[in-house]
Amino acid sequence: MRRHRTPLLRLVGLFWSTSVAAEMEYRVDFVLAVLNSGFGLLTTIFGLSLVFGGGPSFAGWSWHQAMVVVGVFTILEGFTRAVLEPNLGQIVRHVQQGTLDFVLLKPVSAQLWLSTRGLSPWGFPDVVLGVGLTLWAALKSGAGAADLALAIVPLAAAVVTLYSLWFVLATTSIWFVKIYNVTQVLRTLVEAGRYPVSVYPFGHRMFFTFIVPVAFLTTVPAETLVGRGSWAWIAASVGLAALLALAARAFFRFALRFYTSASS
């Protein structure tokens, strides 16, 4: 039997062009999103300047190197706003209103549908600002072309790790229908990634490396970018990303067994 299959990329493209169209309805929001990114960045930089206290370096990081961390964080923040929040943030709603039924009935991978259905353009300013800041600060810290190229690996791993963490937490709403804010907790903890992990005391550092792997989200990519990366950390970040991605997929399938579609 032959059947027509829309190419995956075209499907995602269609999803995203319609959701951008929906979002563009809100003009004031566009201005606000830019302000939001700007102030967010300003807040982080100001906080970091207080921590540095005018000194040339803190906890082994020079000012420009620390700015690379901020840049990477801003990119991930943009990714969160553009992709994670409009999609994974909606899973709770799907479960509550029983519309997850429709998703499961579609002849497309449910995980793909739930993860790519929406795209919010209001994450774009963050991505643009983040990429700009990262490049500028990395070059100022003496990064070469090889460092930039190599950093793509831990950066991609960071994106996959962040996505998988979000997806696992969002999936728990299949059991805990009322939990809106579980991803909000993750967002708060990820905030710790605004600063290099070495600015934290030992206990915090352990927590942000092994329990909530914030260190792999911003510090490892930033170290690679400024030419301080170690193969061991890069390999660990790729391994972690792969592991979490597989775990997220398995967890979702497991959770679906407990899905009882809402009664009304």
């Binding site: 309805e25 804010n181 909000q184 905030e191």
Partner: protein
């Protein structure tokens, strides 16, 4: 008149409290979502251990712990609910009742404080068990003025956010406005670091805004530490002024907003 108000307040509070208890699991998550001060506490304890600031790591531990508590006691989310009500038209139901819709929201916020309290107490006990050096007994007067200023901070913060909520009548997502506002709040309220660590010029500017009164002032009043100076009577006066200003602005916007809302089809 007063009897009626009391009766309405009691009914609203007790029912909303029962509602909040249905959200026990969420309350824990909401509390944890406010754990940013505990993260920054780590940073500043390390800074204090690295270079002389005139403050010990334990001072920062107490500063950020009290800050955490003040933030827990002054959480406001009215803009998200209000925005949802305007967008879905659910506000209409409330408008049909002979009581201003704001009281339902106030009741939810106040009831939520009490529902959240036990979890906060457990967390603080856990903190002191893990970090006994940070234990201290605040002076009763300091504690009292800190508590009063915290309540005032909640009132002012609610008035401000409810005023921002009115924007939901004109723009479809007032929530983004709140996000921008929140960045300024983090920047100028003393959440990143004690306001006394800020450069002189930034601090002077911050004091012209309502932000320090929402966080730094109640924290400093509770700690009563020479490194965190605060003029309590003056702070009360300034907060009252901000509160009145926002309530007046709120009522003006509310009236115009209702006209706009009904123009859109309620």
């Amino acid at each position: 008149m007063i009897g009626r108000a009391l009766r309405q307040a009691r009914a609203l509070l007790s029912v909303r409290y029962a509602e909040m208890l249905e959200y026990r699991a969420e309350l824990v998550l909401w509390m944890l979502a406010g754990s940013m001060p505990l993260i920054l506490m780590g940073v500043w304890m390390k800074v204090a251990a690295t270079r002389p600031l005139g403050l010990e790591p334990v001072d920062f531990a107490r500063y950020f712990l009290v800050l955490f508590l003040v933030r827990q006691a002054t959480v406001v989310w009215v803009i998200w609910e209000f925005q949802e009500k305007v967008l879905t038209g659910a506000l209409s139901q409330r408008l049909l009742q002979p009581i201003d819709p704001v009281w339902n929201e106030v009741a939810k916020h106040v009831a939520e404080r009490f529902a959240r309290l036990p979890f906060v107490v457990v967390l603080v006990a856990l903190f002191f068990a893990l970090y006994p050096d940070a234990r201290w007994v605040p002076h009763p007067w300091a504690l009292l003025s800190g508590l009063l200023l915290t309540i005032a901070a909640f009132a002012v913060r609610f008035a401000i956010q409810y005023t921002l909520s009115m924007m939901a009548f004109w723009t479809e997502r007032a929530g983004s406005l709140q996000s921008v506002w929140f960045h300024l709040y983090v920047l100028f309220s003393g959440m990143l670091a004690p306001l006394s660590m800020y450069p002189e010029s930034v601090r002077t500017f911050a004091e012209l805004t309502p932000f320090p009164y929402l966080v730094y002032v109640p924290v400093a009043a509770t700690l009563d530490h020479p490194a965190f100076p605060v003029d309590v009577p003056r702070a009360c006066a300034v907060m009252a002024a901000w509160g009145v200003a926002f309530v007046v602005l709120n009522r003006v916007l509310w009236r115009r907003g209702l006209r706009q809302y009904s123009g859109m089809g309620a």
